[in-house]
């Protein structure tokens, strides 16, 4: 690693650290005069504190919406290449892309193309999930022939049955409600808390300029 590269890494790590410190402080504490004990001038101070976060946020939001263009470019690049190799489906993709753009430009935002093409395909794919999910659930014990697989399947069956409005199954609904209120809620909280903690930890590491993504 030569000196220039080291300097580059140091630069990006420094930028990350500085911007991170500003952004977190500003986002977390900004716009709340109570932070400054509501003393005279604290309104102004709170606004000033919120400003850098605000500006950074706007900047990144625009960058993100611009990034769609990068994505589209990638998609077109891949599929134009495939069309050149004689793949018909990629042709269909490019054609529908073109049609949608053309439609929009000529018909001033008439959303009926979405209604006619996008919605049915996407809804149908979501409906297909049902079959995939049921087929998957019926194979759980193939993959996990243990007590966890059994427990999983039992809960799935219980919740499904409880959704059936049959008088005979009424007790199941009470079980299901308890299940949702207590164990599921506990498990879900653990998932959420765990992910939140991990997000904070990984995020802090990134804020400290310690991530590979912008260092090398």
């Amino acid at each position: 690693m030569n000196f220039g590269q080291r300097l580059g890494i140091a630069l990006s790590a420094f930028v990350a650290f500085a911007v991170g410190a500003i952004a977190v402080t500003s986002l977390l504490l900004g716009d709340n005069p109570a932070i400054f004990n509501n003393q005279p001038g604290s309104e102004r101070a709170a606004e000033l504190l919120a400003l850098p976060g605000d500006v950074l946020l706007r900047l990144v939001v625009i960058v993100i919406s611009l990034s769609v263009v990068i994505g589209i470019a990638n998609l077109l690049y891949v599929h134009v290449g495939r069309v050149a190799r004689g793949k018909v489906y990629s042709g269909a993709l490019l054609a529908s892309f073109g049609v949608a753009i053309f439609w929009h430009l000529t018909r001033q935002g008439d959303p009926s193309l979405l209604e006619a093409v996008q919605l049915p395909i996407e809804s149908s794919l979501a409906a297909l999930l049902f079959v995939s999910l049921v087929a998957g659930a019926s194979r759980v014990m193939q993959k996990r022939a243990d007590v966890w697989g059994l427990l999983f399947v039992a809960v799935v069956v219980l919740v499904l049955l409880a959704s059936v409005p049959l008088a005979e199954l009424a007790p199941l609904r009470a079980w299901r409600d308890w299940l949702m209120r207590v164990p599921v809620s506990a498990g879900a909280r653990a998932f959420l808390l765990g992910i939140a903690m991990a997000t904070v930890v990984t995020g802090q590491r990134v804020l400290l300029g310690q991530d590979r993504s912008y260092r090398g």
């Binding site: 939001v61 809804s123 194979r139 059936v164 879900a188 959420l192």
Partner: protein
């Protein structure tokens, strides 16, 4: 031979080879013996793969560590490398590796003339050894695949598992489709669905909305969940605009915004006859899309005034709001629990006294409930299609429409398209002539009317004078009974261009004075003695003896009176004939009353059947797997 292939050793990271010598030893012991019985061998291997007893072949594989291949016989290794290395590459590969089900030799051995076999002259004994080697290589390859993938090697096409899949899918789809074919397949009692307090509080909050209050509606779902959440969205939007409150629609999903336009268009279509069109940036606002998920929401909560400045079409909205606190309510319609988490994380901490109403699909329920319990700001929660149904019923009853269970019987007999054909879409929504069993001449359908009330109405106006029917004066009185399962308009004149005096719904009966010339309209008498006209193809004639109180004052008649008391708004700038009387019914109950509820009952029934069928399949499939695994464990035991 060694020299031929030794160069490979430098390139291949041997420590990553999937098979260990332990596995190999196990296979060496097993496979040659079994190779004489390929089918049995295959089956055993598939079984062994599922069994997890510590000494089954699969367990040996599972327990392997990534020990180097160096321990292998050199020739074997080279052979193995060669056979793998010269596979045709990625995209063009015919997937030979995964079809090794039937073969003990990898296909390349046979296919390539320049391969190992032809390059070397072999004696009979050597050939036998090569066979053995191929056996081991093929076998170990096969087994290592199973160790990794854990699935039997069935070719994806036309195999048994594909057939089972097909049968399973067909079964599921057919079962779900049954209720749409006939109502005989209804299982369970739909009215049994109980109301939850979270739903009631949501209803009450929306029902308390005042004119011109702002409701922030976050539409966090795309077409993916449209089938599940559109019903809820439409219902809640209708409830909001019925109170003349103004929904401000935001979304972090660009497609959701386009979709929102379609939903509003649908609502507009249903009330076009009342000239109640919802106007963008006036009756509702569709704000610009919020890119970057969390970032977008953070921007929304911190700079709401700026976000509210621009509409989805890049126009100025003219909305005068300064912060999220100006919103009376925040209604979040989200398909996933993560969207709810995002709102809880990015928006709620930034707003004081926000009241969040949440509508989600089933899949988000477990988490949404956990959040709703933890956050004081969440004041209402509705989940999924069943809640939409309950909410709709509640709304319909409160606004004086017949509940779905009352109209159920005709749902199947009038299967008009869900998206109504333009004909009659406006003032006679979704009822087509042929769907109404009527003995009267129905030749003349009403003139067509596009949803927009600004279009000129093609009117074939017959003279408004009624030609009395010959029987109108005889002793039994002629009534007409409404047979359409939609709200239909009662008009001042026998033309679709005329004012609407009242709305009638299925089962309403009116005393009839006569018909117009071509028989397309009946002249009827409203209960308060006002003469009016009703399109003939929407009603059925009914003779009731004049003195027969039991008939004329029967339950349907009573309903009519009740319903006619309900507010009926006329076109803009026209006087109201009937005044709103129900207190909670909002300014524009038409938004609620004209909702298309076709097929809702069948969908609920289909869900019931679908859930039962999936339970059966899941239980059966897992039972078979569990039994097989149990059997494997026992049969794999003696192999120790």
């Amino acid at each position: 031979m060694k020299d031929d292939f030794s160069w490979l050793d430098d390139e291949r990271p041997l420590e990553r080879s999937p098979a260990s010598s332990g596995a190999r030893r196990g296979l060496r012991r097993f496979l040659p013996r079994l190779s004489r019985l390929p089918r049995l061998r295959r089956r055993l291997r598939a079984r062994a793969d599922k069994a997890s007893a510590p000494d089954s072949a699969a367990a040996i594989l599972e327990g392997r560590s990534d020990r180097p291949v160096e321990e292998l016989d050199n020739r074997l290794r080279a052979l193995r490398e060669r056979s793998f290395g010269e596979q045709p590459s990625g995209a063009e590969a015919p997937g030979a590796l995964f079809d090794v089900d039937e073969v003990l030799v990898t296909p390349e051995f046979q296919r390539k003339p320049g391969g190992v076999i032809s390059a070397v002259a072999l004696s009979k004994a050597q050939e036998r050894q090569v066979e053995l080697l191929k056996d081991i290589v093929g076998g170990s390859l096969d087994a290592s695949d199973e160790g990794d993938g854990g699935r039997p090697r069935l070719s994806p096409r036309f195999s048994l598992s594909a057939f089972i899949r097909l049968a399973l899918s067909a079964l599921l789809v057919l079962v779900v489709a049954l209720p749409f074919v006939s109502s005989d397949y209804a299982v369970g009692d739909l009215t049994a669905s109980e109301e939850r307090p979270a739903l009631t509080s949501m209803y009450d909050l929306l029902d308390d909305l005042e004119k011109a209050e702002h409701v922030l509606v976050a539409l966090e779902y795309g077409p993916t969940a449209a089938g599940e959440l559109d019903a809820l969205t439409e219902l809640l939007l209708r409830h909001i605009v019925a109170h003349s409150a103004k929904p401000i629609i935001v979304s972090g999903n660009p497609i959701a915004l386009v979709h929102a336009q379609n939903i509003i268009r649908k609502i507009n279509r249903s009330v076009a006859a009342f000239a109640l069109d919802l106007e963008a940036n006036q009756d509702y606002y569709l704000l610009r899309y919020l890119p970057g998920e969390a970032l977008g929401l953070r921007e929304l909560s911190e700079n709401f005034a700026d976000v509210a400045r621009v509409s989805a079409k890049g126009e100025l909205t003219g909305l005068e709001v300064s912060a999220l606190e100006d919103m009376s309510l925040i209604l979040l319609i989200a398909e996933s629990a993560e969207d709810m988490r995002l709102w809880a994380e990015q928006v709620l901490p930034e707003t004081e006294d926000a009241r969040l109403l949440v509508a989600t699909g089933y899949s988000a329920e477990p988490l949404a409930a956990a959040y709703a319990d933890s956050l004081d700001e969440v004041v209402g929660l509705v989940v999924g299609f069943r809640d939409a149904y309950i909410y709709g019923e509640k709304l319909a009853i409160a606004y004086g429409a017949p509940s779905q269970s009352q109209r159920e019987s005709t749902v199947d007999s009038a299967p008009a398209g869900e998206s109504p054909d333009p004909q009659g879409a406006a003032q006679l929504p979704t009822v087509t002539a042929q769907s109404t069993p009527t003995s009267l001449p129905t030749a003349t359908a009403p003139p067509t009317l596009r949803p927009s009330p600004t279009l000129p109405l093609p009117t074939a106006t017959p003279p408004p004078t009624a030609t009395p029917l010959p029987t109108a004066t005889s002793e039994p009185v002629l009534y007409v009974e409404v047979t359409a399962d939609q709200f239909i308009n009662i008009r001042r004149e026998p033309t679709t261009a005329a004012d609407i005096l009242a709305l009638a719904s299925e089962g309403d009966r009116f005393e009839t004075l006569g018909k117009n010339d071509d028989g397309s309209w009946y002249n009827i008498l409203l209960p308060d003695g006002v003469e009016a006209w009703i399109a003939s193809f929407l009603v059925e004639e009914l003779w009731i003896a004049a003195g027969d109180d039991s008939a004329s004052a029967s339950a349907p008649r009573q309903q009519t009176l009740m319903r006619l008391e309900f507010p009926l708004r006329l076109g803009k700038n026209q006087p109201r004939f009937y005044q709103a009387q129900a207190s909670g019914a909002g300014d524009h109950p038409e938004f609620v009353l004209n909702r298309d509820r076709k097929g809702e009952t069948s969908r609920l029934e289909a869900m019931t059947l679908g859930a039962l069928a999936s339970v059966l399949i899941i239980v059966f499939g897992n039972l078979v797997s569990a039994l097989r695994a149990f059997g494997m464990r026992r049969s794999a035991g003696p192999a120790k």
